[in-house]
């Protein structure tokens, strides 16, 4: 379905604060034919240049708000924040010195829970250029 498109090449860049790199971000799209509440995200797993990203270092930016990734997995996360169909969900990885500018191999596993099918998992691997 949309497996090849869940990892986008839009907005891949370092995140800076006070002239220093403090992390980097990627934008994801949903692996389903409709939007889902953010709490229906079962897993976002990232691997960059063969190294697993620690989920505790990830934050999710959605419609002007930011949530630690591990928060959205909790059993009391609100049900009315929708990851809108076709809309990008930004994942920022907090990391001192960010990522070296240039090309990196990024692998994403995205799993979402739906109402009438079992949890669906999609993977996508791409070479992305980070600004």
């Amino acid at each position: 379905m949309y497996d090849n498109h869940i990892l986008t090449d839009v907005g891949c860049r370092n995140v800076w604060e006070n002239g220093k790199k403090v992390g980097y971000g990627v934008n994801l799209k949903i692996n389903y034919y409709r939007g889902l509440p953010l709490c229906c995200v079962d897993e976002i797993a990232l691997e960059v240049d063969g190294e697993k990203v620690d989920p505790a270092d990830m934050v999710v930016q959605h419609r002007g708000r930011e949530y630690p990734y591990l928060e959205i997995l909790k059993d009391d996360f609100p049900t009315d924040f929708y990851w809108v169909f076709g809309e990008m969900l930004r994942v920022v990885i907090k990391k001192e010195n960010g990522i070296a500018q240039g090309r990196h191999q990024v692998k994403l596993k995205l799993a979402t829970r739906r109402s009438y099918t079992p949890t669906m998992s999609a993977t996508c691997e791409k070479t992305l250029t980070f600004a």
Partner: protein, 348 residues
């Protein structure tokens, strides 16, 4: 363009999902595409194309009504989902699911839809959904709200079920018991597939299946159907075995070998009772016919049986073909609407 016909044609915006996902068209673009295909009704997936979902503002309602007026179409159905598995270790309670379902029904009313496609527990049979969807008890609780708002809950009878499958009956019984006729049967043409569509072949091959085997099984299904005999996979199984099926083939075959169309006679008998119809399709053959559903026969049964309501195009070939490139959903739906008008005698 609005008509006074008994059977009207609509488009489910599901059909344009790639156009929306890849930002080729927004909600207005999809409605323009549907209207341009000649349809007069719109089925909307609030979860996909209403960006402010799950809440709908008055400003959106005004925009929506404006779109309906500008394109000369009307809203016919809103799709309901039953997302009970909200969290990893916890699910919505029955009360919470009821609240969410009520939200969909109220949204439908707000947008002027007289029908909600309800995701009932048995819509694709039993044993597939990992969670309990909208069951009979839930529908019983929703009926007073539907009666108050005048919204019909359409029970989509999707393959492998059929409209006369007894698993849908308890829902109708509960409506009768309460004297609230606000739940009814919705036919989905997936029940009338006589073979699998060629739209799926490419994807199955890319997943590792053997193309020759798929074509052989599909051709056998078509041959059986056009000769008026039931397709029995066991009769060709030994021939398939000679073609050395691999593991992927063995996994796929039991699923695709099951295709046999539900009865057109039964469809005719039920037609006047149906509350909504999904004109499902995946691809066309070289003669412009849907390549795995006998549209002339299905539409004839609905017409002769006295169906009054909408048939909405539901293009699903996008999902099987978009892994290798762009699928021209707008063109598919345009052809589909023309085919349905042909079958119903609207072009002459």
């Amino acid at each position: 363009m609005k008509t006074n016909r008994d059977i009207k044609l609509g488009v489910s915006l599901y059909s344009y999902q790639d156009n929306y996902y890849f930002h080729k068209h927004d909600l207005e673009g999809c409605i323009a595409a549907a209207a341009g295909s000649g349809a007069e009704g719109i089925e909307v997936f609030a979860d996909s194309m209403i960006a402010e979902w799950p809440y709908i503002t008055d400003a959106f309602v005004d925009k929506w009504n404006g779109l309906m007026a500008r394109y000369g179409v009307e809203q016919v159905c809103l799709d309901h989902f039953a997302d009970r598995a909200m969290w990893k270790n916890k699910q919505l309670s029955d009360d919470q699911l009821f609240e969410r379902s009520s939200m969909y029904i109220k949204a439908a009313r707000k947008l002027g839809c007289s029908t909600v496609r309800i995701l009932h527990n048995e819509h694709i049979g039993t044993g597939f959904s990992p969670v309990r969807l909208t069951d009979v008890k839930e529908v019983e609780r929703l009926l007073p709200l539907c009666a108050e708002l005048g919204v019909m809950m359409a029970l989509e009878c999707h393959a492998p079920t059929t409209i006369d499958d007894s698993i849908h009956e308890p829902y109708l019984e509960v409506a009768e018991k309460l004297g609230m006729p606000f739940v009814g049967l919705q036919a989905d043409f997936s029940s009338y597939e006589y073979c699998f569509s060629k739209a799926g072949i490419g994807m199955m091959v890319r997943q590792g299946a053997t193309e020759e085997i798929l074509h052989f099984v599909r051709n056998s299904q078509r041959e059986a159907y056009f000769n008026g005999v039931p397709f029995v996979y066991d009769e060709i199984k030994h021939l398939v075995e000679k073609m050395n099926p691999n593991e992927v083939d063995r996994k796929i075959l039991p699923r695709i070998a099951k295709k046999s169309p539900a009865s057109y006679e039964t469809l005719k008998k039920y037609a006047s009772k149906l509350v909504y119809v999904h004109g499902k399709f995946f691809d066309f053959d070289e003669n412009g016919q849907v390549d795995n559903i006998d549209y002339p026969k299905v539409l004839q049964a609905l017409q002769e049986g006295g169906y009054k309501g909408y048939i909405s195009s539901e293009f699903e070939g996008n999902r099987s073909m978009n892994d290798i490139g762009w699928v021209d959903e707008i063109e598919y739906v345009r052809k589909h609407q023309a085919l349905m008008r042909d079958c119903l005698g609207y072009n002459g």
